[in-house]
Amino acid sequence: PDVLDTAPEPSMVELIQLFQDFMSRFNKTYSNPEEQHRRLLIFRQNLATARALEEAGQGLAQFGVTRFSDLTEEEFRAQLLSPMPGHTLRPAAQSPSKP
């Protein structure tokens, strides 16, 4: 939210242009206009998130449009990530043996 004060969101025209560039760059197609509109709204939300992350990165990292920019957080996690309960499966540290 802080960053939105300093970097205004793109206008609808700019947003649609960015979305069309995104679709072209990553060969994205959608099944119908409603779905495309839904993806546009997700894209807009993700742009805002990326902008906030970039601000937090203090200029060392760039965040922005990627091929995952039309996915919700839940979709991204479901399609690309896989929860790993690693900490519970990690072998416990051995306690020192008694002399």
């Binding site: 998130t49 990165g57 990292a61 990627t66 690309l80 072998p91």
Partner: protein, 228 residues
């Protein structure tokens, strides 16, 4: 550990692969680990088969996630063939035998989560697989994911596996970072790689380090140091 290390400069890291819409990161990270270690030991750089790992692991739904040691177990039992012999299709299929194995491992080991020790291990032995909370990576383009961004990725919630291939210190603000190989293709991030803050278990990057140890040959001339 030396101040910096990048195994890509030694030619020890294959290009980043693309896991597609399959939760096979665990297999990609482990196979990438074996590829690099095999090169460091034998000077043969192979693209090894991730699909073989998916098909031949004991997991019933390999695209549903797993651990690098599931993949190491396959490499230990069968050895790994080349990618071109057993190409990636991004879903679980039947385990096919009869392919010639070109690389195998003798053991795998869990490493310390101490990032200084981890850096020393990477510099002297080679890349290491780790887990990470990858939520931030949905929007990553390039640069170093800094310490103060990591409140967006709970280190207790590991949901991705990747390969640490080196580390360094950025001149800007003297930021220490890890160089990490991902499995979302060479078009993503910095040619398939990303960099993240080193020293604070950022996004859980140091919480689950595991590596294979490859079989050695009698006449090997292993690469002894990581290029800075």
């Amino acid at each position: 550990a030396p101040p910096s290390c990048d195994w890509r400069k030694a030619g020890a890291v294959t290009p980043a692969k693309d896991q597609g819409l399959c939760g096979s990161c665990w297999a990609f990270a482990a196979v990438a680990n074996i590829e690099s270690l095999w090169f460091i030991r034998h000077q043969d750089l192979y693209n090894l088969s991730v699909q073989q790992v998916l098909d031949c692991s004991r997991l019933q739904v390999a695209c549903g996630g797993g651990f690098p040691w599931d993949a190491f177990t396959v490499a230990w039992m069968y050895g790994l063939t080349q990618e071109e012999q057993y190409p990636y299709i991004g879903c679980q299929s039947l385990c096919k035998s009869g392919h010639q194995a070109v690389a195998s491992i003798k053991i795998f080991q869990f490493l310390s989560s101490d990032e200084k020790k981890l850096a020393a291990h990477i510099a002297t032995r080679g890349p290491v697989t780790v887990g990470i909370n990858a939520n931030l990576l949905q929007f990553y383009v390039e640069g170093i994911i800094t310490k103060n961004m990591t409140c967006h990725c709970n280190p207790e919630e590991i949901n991705h596996a990747v390969l640490l291939v080196g580390y360094g210190l950025a001149p800007e603000k003297k930021t220490p970072y890890w160089i990490v190989k991902n499995s979302w293709g060479p078009e993503w991030g910095e040619e398939g790689f990303f960099r993240i803050y080193r020293g604070g278990n950022a996004c859980g990057i140091a919480s689950l380090p595991v590596t294979a140890m490859v079989h050695e040959g009698a006449f090997d001339a292993a690469i002894e140091s990581c290029p800075p």
